[in-house]
């Protein structure tokens, strides 16, 4: 083991290899490594963001569903109420109409009856008069008995 020029040669070789490594070997590998690191980090980031988005969307969907369900039940309830109300109204109306009809029919009947009575009375009195006239012929003073006959007719 004698020290000689090899020492210097080795130092020079060392310097050249280090220089070459600094200049041409390290940068591309290191860059690729860091870029890939960044890419992977970005990917993971995006994945976690997507998961969060998904969670959010699910939550929103659930909420929307819940809301719409609520709305639907509300609408249904409203409709039920409204239909009940309508039925009630219709019933009321029908009843009122029926009553009105019945009343008018009754009054008409009454009117008719009255008229018939009146007519009947008139005719009866007339018939009575005619009858009496026939029976009595001119012996009866129409004027004198009119009052009596009217009274008789009113009693009918």
């Amino acid at each position: 083991m004698n020290i000689n020029m090899t020492l210097i040669g080795q130092t020079i070789a060392f310097a050249i290899f280090v220089w070459f490594c600094i200049k041409y070997v390290w940068p591309p590998i290191s860059n690729a490594l860091h870029e890939r690191q960044k890419k992977i980090a970005d990917g993971l980031d995006a994945a976690s963001r997507a998961t969060r988005d998904l969670e959010l969307a699910q939550e929103r969907a659930e909420q929307t569903l819940r809301e719409s369900k609520e709305q639907a039940s509300q609408i249904l309830e409203q409709a039920n109420k409204r239909s009940a109300q309508m039925i009630e109204e219709a019933r009321e109306q029908a009843r009122a109409e029926g009553e009105r009809l019945m009343a008018s029919a009754r009054s008409e009947i009454e009117l008719e009856v009255n008229r018939a009575k009146e007519e009947l009375r008139a005719q009866v009195s007339h018939l009575a008069i005619v009858g009496a006239e026939r029976v009595l012929e001119a012996s009866v003073d129409e004027k004198a008995h009119r009052e009596l006959l009217d009274k008789l007719a009113a009693e009918l």
């Binding site: 083991m1 004698n2 020290i3 000689n4 020029m5 090899t6 020492l7 210097i8 040669g9 080795q10 130092t11 070789a13 060392f14 310097a15 050249i16 290899f17 280090v18 070459f20 490594c21 600094i22 041409y24 070997v25 390290w26 940068p27 591309p28 590998i29 290191s30 860059n31 690729a32 490594l33 870029e35 890939r36 890419k39």
Partner: protein, 275 residues
Amino acid sequence: MAAGNEVSTTYYIQHHLQNLTFGKHPINGWSIADSAEEAREMGFWAIHLDTMGWSIAMGLLFIWLFRKAGKMATTGVPGGLQNAVEMVVEFIENLTRSTFHGRNPHIAPLALTLFVWILLMNSLKIIPVDFGPVLFAKLGVDYMKIVPTTDVNATLGMALGVFILILYYNIKVKGAGGFARELSLTPFNHWALIPFNLVLEVVSLLVKPFSLAMRLFGNMFAGEVIFILIAMLPFWAIWVLDVPWAIFHILVVTLQAFIFTVLTVVYLSAAHEHH
């Protein structure tokens, strides 16, 4: 055991621990050393061809593999090679982030280079010790030590590079004055203790690269020697020891590369810190 056997054993060990040296021999001129003595006689102006060759080959393998992965790198799903490379890169990045407290984009690539390069060089150790020397002897090359980190020049060379970076960043971050102040006024902030502080700080500064180099070299060299000793056992007994030792070395190889890298990052982190 006969004397001849002992000689051949010593020769075997020495042969396996001898680098292929090219240098200026006082007599033969610029040539490849034929023996350990010749290599020693060449002194400082010599170079270990096997250490340089294998370390550069491993460095190029690292550069090629990682550059290829870098070119293919996409932000999509990574393939096999890219996955492996990215695992290492990420490991180094985390290590740097947890250990280095300054702000310097060059530290992580530096640590990556050191870690993978040393790991690859150390991994050559898993190749059986005889393969290199025997194969290259067939090709006419006398010596071949294929694990560069068992050569103290290689580890010390890398540590020297780290040391230069420590000095550079100390001066760059704290300024020359700030660095000098740190060397002379810590740990005792009193003018009378400046020489004492200087000795203390300079020693601790110098120890850093030296311990880096020696730890790696020591572990690898010792492991190599054990491998060589095991290889000299009778052929039917080799695997009994060789296999556990090799499996253990998978751990050592990784651990030593890791320790070298971590300590480098720690030292450079300290260089970036103000006191």
